[in-house]
């Protein structure tokens, strides 16, 4: 589907979705965290979009705004179109619902984001660290992360 038509259909179906226009290269919408599970299900199941593949999921530490921005890159193997989904959560209490029941690969992606950013996923079947040791202290990709081994330029 074309970008404009795609965004129009999505906002009609998911009223809470807000279209992001600036600074992005692809169709992008922003969602409040509470609406993520139902929106994910709609995007996956509705035949008009059929976003059946979660390409990538990651987080950005927007430390100036006190938020983590969670990014979901969706792709449809049927229609060959992309969508970027952005969800902002509070840095102090980073809890979002898991989408691993919709896209299975999200299990690993969410473990990775939990490992490196400390974002907690509700209803995740097995939320453990993915890369680092289980007893690692802190979450290294946070901008304010410091440990004894880091070399900093300050």
């Amino acid at each position: 589907m074309e970008k404009a038509a795609l965004l129009e259909t999505i906002t009609a179906l998911i009223p809470n979705a807000k279209v992001i226009e600036e600074g992005v290269d692809r169709p992008a919408i922003e969602l409040p965290p509470a609406h993520l599970p139902e929106a994910a299900k709609l995007l996956h199941d509705t035949d008009d979009f059929a976003f059946d593949m979660l390409c990538a999921h990651t987080a950005i530490d927007r430390i100036d705004d006190g938020k983590f921005e969670l990014i979901y890159q969706l792709y449809s193997t049927k229609f060959h179109h992309y969508l970027m989904l952005s969800v902002k959560v509070d840095r102090e209490h980073p809890v979002v619902p898991s989408v691993s029941s919709v896209w299975r690969i999200a299990q690993w992606h969410e473990r990775e984001v939990y490992d490196l950013f400390g974002v907690l996923y509700d209803n995740h079947p097995d939320l453990r660290r993915l890369f680092l040791e289980d007893d690692w202290q802190g979450h290294p990709l946070r901008k304010d992360y410091r440990d004894d081994f880091m070399l900093t330029m300050e």
């Binding site: 600074g23 992005v24 290269d25 692809r26 059946d52 593949m53 979660l54 390409c55 990538a56 990651t58 950005i60 530490d61 927007r62 990014i71 890159q73 193997t77 060959h80 992309y82 970027m84 896209w103 299975r104 690969i105 299990q107 690993w108 490196l116 660290r129 993915l130 890369f131 680092l132 290294p140 990709l141 900093t152 330029m153």
Partner: protein
Amino acid sequence: MEIKEHSTAISEASPEFHQRDMLLNVGPAHPAMHGIIRIIAKTSGEMVVDSEVEIGYLHRAFEKSCEDTTWNQALVYTDRLNYVSACINNVGYCMAVEKLLEVTLPPRGQYIRTLLCEISRISDHLTCVGASAMELGAFTVFLYMIKGREFLWELIEEYCGARVTTMATRVGGMPHDLPEGWLDKLTWTISEIRTILSECHTLLTKNRIFVERMEDIGVVSKENAVAWGFTGPCGRASGIEYDVRKDFPYLVYHEFDWTVPVGKRGDNMDRYLVRMEEMEQSLRILEQCRDKIPAGRVSVDDKRITLPDKQDTYGNIEGLINHFKLIMYGHGVRVPQGEVYFPVEGANGELGFYIVSHPDAHSTDGCNGMPWRVRCRPPCYNMVAGLRPMINNYMIADIVPTFGSVNMIGGELDR
């Protein structure tokens, strides 16, 4: 005496003794695990009934390191992602940054990138097929294919001076033009690779030992492949017709005549056949690329991005200042605010770079000299995540060919 007692004990044991499940650790440092990964298999007799995959042994903070480098310095880390086809990583990262900068390479630069990408792709497939054939006992194939890979790496070495960690591109272009006689050497290499491929086809494709270890082993249905996000040869073997080079053409792939091989069954044999056919297609791209390559610049003509010629750096003050402005600490390429996701077709599948430029407190022009966030979408991550259903309910010995056909690369998986 002891041995005798022990054997009697086993034969007289109750039937439950034989049915008891056993936990088997494969890896982290096992010869059949390319790189370091741990598979914990719960076995019942020879069958794997359940398994768990543990990764992270090669985690070296790629994404965190990139946040403390300039845009060009981060290129060095991208070499170490997929170290068998490093040029594709370089190209993917550079094109993502160039998309943020809104610059496009001159045609000759794009052709050179295409050449390097396809050479890397063939060398990656040769390594994957060769290594998995070796694990099934076909050592000759391994040697033939590594010989072919060496020819390809010699080409890359001649271009950029390194075989593995290439750093073959720069943000906004290529470091230099092709060396003299390079294209003739490419012609020779293409014919050598063709010979090697036909030899290996003869050795493997109808070889009964090989086929029986590969066919109907590690089957992934199309539905499962989509759910786990399989792309590249593994996805195409399961029937997902998705190739970034066709679906979202970048560089100059749309100018060439080539096809995307797609499998049906999604088993190890299909993954092998798809890789073999892809190498042939890559050779076709290389030939067309060689014939069509235009003359001209290889980098964008923008002094804020591209280093000046060496004779300018050493010959006049403007060139020297230009050089320093791009090299010295605190200077360098400055990228406007924004975020971009750019996928390229890596040897294993979709290799995406999600890059965020976010001006820091020192920024006066709204641009940033360092990435705020670099996220690599490693293609083999999805295949390793989906490895569990591929090895469950097969035999222990089947882990080896299945794992080989997934082509896990520790560098890009663990980052």
